[in-house]
């Protein structure tokens, strides 16, 4: 049981970074995980093409919340192009655990919110994120 989740995941889950809602925001997007109904919202302020500030809000499991918290930390200061290049593998590296196909959707919810929200990729193919 103790090795179920890395300490870092539990830490981000109990103390999520950049939590809240920015208002006004340049980017404001919410997605949900249809399997469990969990929701995640991302608000971001962009200055000179770089992510200046961001905030997450929503509810979900340790994996989805820690993933958002960890991803958010890496985003601040990145250009939108750099953020766009973030892949599934990068998220899994951040989390540092192996996940089955169902939990993978929890882990990648934050990436989906970022990509659909930041790049307006409506109907963005989930298979692309999970490749």
């Amino acid at each position: 049981m103790d090795d179920l989740y890395r300490e870092a995941i539990l830490d981000h889950y109990s103390d999520p970074r950049n939590w809240g809602v920015l208002s006004p925001a340049d980017i404001d997007h919410e997605e949900s995980n249809p399997l469990c109904g969990d929701k995640l919202r991302l608000t971001m302020r962009v200055k000179d093409g770089k992510i200046a500030e961001l905030a997450w809000a929503g509810e979900g499991c340790a994996i989805s919340q820690a993933s958002a918290s960890m991803l958010g930390e890496t985003l601040v200061g990145k250009t939108l192009e750099e953020a766009r290049a973030i892949t599934k593998e990068d998220i899994l590296d951040l989390l540092g655990i192996e996940l089955g196909p169902v939990r993978l959707k929890c882990a990648l919810l934050s990436l989906k919110v970022l990509k659909v929200g930041a790049y307006g990729l409506a109907g963005w193919n989930e298979a692309e994120i999970e490749r």
Partner: protein, 417 residues
Amino acid sequence: MVAPSIVSFSAEKIRQDFPILSREVHPGVPLIYLDSGATSQKPLAVLEAEDTFYRQTNANVHRGVHAFSEKATSAYEGARDKVRAFINARSSQEIVFTRNTTESINLVAYAWGLSTLKPGDEIVTTEMEHHSNIVPWQIVAGHMKAVVRFVPITDDGQLDLAAYRKLLESGRVKLVSVSHASNVLGTINPVAEVVAAAHAAGALTVVDAAQSAPHLPLDVQALDADFVAFSGHKMLGPTGIGVLYGKRAVLQEMPPFLGGGSMIKNVTMEGTTFADLPQRYEAGTPAIAQAIGLGAAIDYLNGIGLAAIHEHEVSLVNYALERLEQIPGLTLYGPRTNRVGAVSFTLKGVHPHDIAQGLDSAGIAIRAGHHCAQPLHHRYGLTATARASFYLYNTRDEVDKLVETLEKVRAMFARRG
């Protein structure tokens, strides 16, 4: 058919009939399967029935005059008769094989709804339904400009029957569709009463028996419902086979659902006349081996007896409720009595997915999420719950292991504060 027996019930002995229950989930970690509400495990008798059919008599049904086609047809129709006896229907013509409960309900929604509903007509279902008893009605109501209304539920997970009677007073209710037992709360609904009130208001009735047919003696004549839907895979049978029971008079009035082979009497380029019941509702090659597997599952269940199975589950669920409510921060949903063996709960500060992952590390399979009942979860201000569901092969030791592991999960998250 194996006659019902009164030999003493032994889950330990029953477990030996289920090969998967002796498997390990992770190295050295045996399976504790508490997810029968999602799908049940299968006894050897069911596996062998399908295997034997494919090895020895595989052929299509209702087509050839060759020997194996005759044998396949007899076995398939034999399974239909086992289903008829299992739910005490008057005639095998009232038993339609479908894929599952979802398809059974869709069959009624489309065949009856598209031919009968008028703008402003009302369909009544309830807040505690599985999505399969909500979405088909919404889709068909959308086509016909009809309205779907919901019977609210009480805080302890019972139908609000006073509100239900009020809904019926509109005079526009054409159909009432209700679950016999809730897949989340475990509530056993007073369906005979719901059906009688609907009939008095001139409405047809559908009973979703997906969570009751595997666990309780089911008598469709006593319920008096016009339609009853359930799945084979939740009652020890294979996936891909489900049942729609319909009263003969109602089925005869209804137009077909899917068109194609088997469901016709005569086809010309000008038009088609349809087959008699129940073939009229079984277009295309059916799930033959799966129907035969379901027949074997029914024989197995009859051998133990549904009353004995229910008694075992009640004893197990009472024990589980008693132990679970002692875990600090754990909230139970649903009634304490008159219920089946599905137990949903939340644990303060731990998301249901994390509960499920923690339990999985100890080999315990439960379900986490909204269990295809989002309106029900929203009713309680939740997005997700964790659900343990019990069946004939579960034991008190497994409940102990569940409780012990939940304590560990709680401790792991509590450590972080």
